[in-house]
């Protein structure tokens, strides 16, 4: 199991190693591990912290204001009694306490006057609260609150100030703050509930969102796994919503198209190589076998062996060309570039082929201006020109054309680079076949019977590509026009190109 493919496993989602029981925890942990969920959780946490800070501050401030208000009212009340107490008559104080106790609204004035022995002298509180022991200047305490009609009493919260009134007697001036406390408590629990629900909802939303996204991602991963297992024709399904996932899937699909195309190209090439190398190998083998059976006649054996060597030489040629094309296509830059006179090279190669053309009754014409110099690989460019000229003479030249020229070699240098065109007036190549003939081993039916490897144009194209140029085929009406173009970056001034040293 340790060797199992993690991607395939993730794609199918089957917890093969954990067993069925683990299915739910596993998928949950997978959900929790998604980036979407993590982002949601982080945002929710940040929101809760920020909102908590704001609401907490608000809550704290409101509480403080309400408390201050209550304290103010208490101290106002207290100041009145203090004035009476300062007059010195405790009896009058007790009387006014009793008076106030009677008239005050319920809870707005809670009063109790005690003497030094803690005995109640006056007030509406039954006894001095325990919470406010001797020496305490004031504070909150609980007191039994009974509505007149109600037998049962409840404990309510009050806040008050203690006023010493001389001779150890003390007066407590207090006020019911139960309402305020209740309000604060209510607000607090409301906020707590609110945050709780909000946070949970946000998390649930995040989970849902990530589950949805996970579904889309899983589809992509699954397709990837299928493709990796060998089915290159699979594509990622689109949801049709034209969202980011569709865009991603779309561009991945385009990439897959391109890869499939390349793979098919490779397969075609290897099929071709297999066919075009195996066929002559088989022929060679047959010949050798036939010679072996043909015992006795020495001269016929010798002849057969000579044919075998010829076949082997042809194979070597094909092989060399294939290797050269592969090397050219694999290398990004052309090594060993040298400046040389392209005009001279074109003339030279034309001269090399001139007797062959002459023998076949063809005329090769040149339109080559002097001293067009390039920086390139002279041998490769030479090979390319030779291939083009050889092709034109083999397949394109029809003797006795009207203008008297069968093959025209034209070299043009312009700001866009150098163009060498080889035009013939033979049968030409139909527009459908033009793209095809550049490929390896493609030989058109009319040329199959003639000698050749089927690699000539592929090699020319590879040489052009290596130098940053390109090869194009055009209709010459009649005939074919092949243009071999090198970019202007390959051109050099004639001063830097030495004249080719004649051997």
């Amino acid at each position: 199991m340790a060797l199992s493919d993690p991607i395939a496993q993730a794609a199918t989602g089957s917890p093969r190693s954990a067993g069925a029981v683990a299915a739910s925890p596993r998928s949950t942990s997978r959900l929790l591990a998604t980036s979407a969920f993590r982002v949601t959780a982080l945002v929710v946490a940040a929101f809760v912290v920020m909102a908590g800070t704001v609401v907490g501050t608000l809550f704290w401030r409101t509480n403080a204001i309400l408390t201050r208000q209550a304290l103010e009212m208490i101290s106002q009340e207290a100041r009145g009694f203090e004035a009476i107490a300062r007059a010195g008559d405790i009896g009058m104080l007790a009387q006014s306490v009793t008076e106030r106790s009677r008239t005050a609204a319920v809870g707005s004035a809670l009063l109790i006057l005690v003497d030094a022995g803690q005995q109640k002298l006056a007030g509406n509180l039954a006894r001095w609260p325990d919470a406010l022991g001797p020496g305490k200047p004031g504070g909150t305490f609980r007191y039994p609150y009974a509505l007149p009609a109600d037998e049962q009493s409840t404990q309510r919260v009050a806040a008050g100030l203690v006023i010493p009134v001389g001779n150890g007697a003390r007066l407590l001036v207090a006020r019911d703050i139960e309402e305020q406390r209740a309000l604060i408590d209510g607000v607090r629990s409301m906020f707590l509930w609110g945050f709780g629900i909000l946070g949970l909802t946000a998390l649930a939303g995040g989970l849902l969102a990530s589950r949805l996204m996970l579904g889309r991602v899983a589809a992509i991963t699954e397709t990837g796994a299928t493709i990796m297992s060998g089915d290159l024709s699979r594509r990622i399904p689109l949801s049709g919503s034209d969202d980011e996932f569709d865009h991603l899937s779309g561009s991945l699909n385009v990439m897959l198209d391109r890869i499939e195309q390349l793979m098919n190209g490779m397969r075609e090439v290897s099929d071709n190589i297999a066919h075009d190398l195996k066929t002559p190998l088989n022929r060679l083998r047959n010949r050798a076998e036939a010679a072996l059976r043909d015992h006795g006649d020495r001269s016929s054996v010798a002849r057969a062996l000579e044919r075998v060597i010829e076949d082997a030489d042809d194979l070597i040629k094909t092989f060399d060309a294939l290797l050269l094309i592969a090397r050219l296509e694999a290398s990004a830059t052309a090594a060993s570039l040298e400046p040389f006179d392209l005009s001279l090279l074109v003339r030279d190669i034309a001269e090399l082929y001139e007797p062959v053309a002459d023998q076949a009754g063809h005329r090769v014409a040149l339109k080559v201006p002097a001293r067009i110099c390039v920086r390139a690989n002279r041998q490769l460019i030479g090979q390319a020109i030779a291939n083009l000229l050889d092709n034109a003479l083999k397949y394109g030249a029809s003797a006795g054309s009207i203008v008297g020229v069968d093959v025209l070699l034209e070299l043009i240098a312009g700001p866009g680079g150098v163009r060498l065109s080889v035009s013939d007036c033979g049968g030409g190549i139909s527009s459908i076949d033009r793209a095809r003939v550049m490929k390896r081993f493609v030989r058109l039916d009319q040329s199959r019977s003639r000698p050749g490897t089927g690699l000539g144009l592929s090699l020319v194209a590879a040489v052009a590509k290596l130098h940053g140029g390109k090869v194009s085929l055009e209709d010459n009406r009649p005939g074919l026009r092949v243009e071999f173009a090198l970019p202007s970056s390959a051109m050099v001034s004639e001063a830097t190109a030495p004249p080719i040293a004649e051997p």
Binding site: E306, K317, D320, L323, V356, Q379, Q383, A386, L393
Partner: protein
């Protein structure tokens, strides 16, 4: 001539040794670069045939070391690496010629003989003669039996190369490389046509042919039968 073959593939080197012996040459074998270097240093060979890729010391390093020691014995590289740049590297390292595997033995033999002859003082000759055919390198005039034969510049160079190697086989690739300076395959047998044209000028109308075709190998300039 005495030849040292430095090649790690035993079958190839033994085949070469046998074939060279049959052609009248003596050949020694070394199966890796270090042995080859030791033998080449004190062997007094006329030619070294060196494989590019070998264990212990590769062919390029062997030849570089020899050239650093001032040993000028001609070197013919054999290599499976055939790209243009590999050839340039081989020649830069001090090799004198470069042959790509697989090769025909006739090609190897012709090149080996041409290399050895190159170090002989023939280079300084101002006049080549084969039979009654005379090539004057100073005046660039070619005559046969005293009669002037007008030649195109390329035909002159072709004849000059063949006469310099008179009595030896020159192959088509040797001509393409040395007369045209091309190291690629021209697809068609263009060289044959050039040679037959030259033959038409120097041999036509004369009783004794001087330019001979050697079957399965190439051509030879020689006064007499091949």
């Amino acid at each position: 001539m005495r030849i040292l073959i430095i090649e790690d593939d035993r079958e190839t080197s033994q085949f070469l040794q046998k074939a060279l012996k049959e052609s009248g040459h003596a050949a020694d074998l070394a199966h890796d670069g270090e042995d080859g270097l030791v033998l080449a240093r004190d062997g007094g060979y006329d030619l070294l045939i060196v494989d590019r890729m070998m264990p212990r010391l590769d062919g390029l390093s062997v030849v570089k070391a020899l050239r650093d020691d001032g040993i000028r014995t001609p070197v013919l590289f054999l290599s499976a690496l055939g790209a243009v740049d590999d050839r340039v590297k081989g020649l830069k390292a001090g090799g004198d010629d470069y042959l790509t595997k697989p090769y025909a033995f006739t090609e190897l033999l012709a090149r080996a003989e041409a290399l050895v002859r190159r170090v002989e003082p023939q280079e300084t000759q101002t006049r080549y003669q084969v039979g009654d055919l005379i090539l004057d390198r100073l005046s660039h005039r070619v005559t046969r039996g005293g009669e002037h034969i007008p030649l195109q510049p390329r035909e002159y160079r072709l004849l000059e190369y063949m006469m310099r190697n008179a009595g030896q086989v020159v192959t088509r690739t040797m001509l393409l490389e040395n007369v045209w300076d091309y190291h690629f395959d021209p697809q068609t047998n263009v060289i044959d046509v050039h040679v037959s044209r030259l033959r038409g000028k120097i041999d036509k109308g004369f009783e004794r042919p001087l330019l001979h075709t050697v079957r399965g190998a190439g051509y030879m300039m020689r006064d007499g039968v091949v």
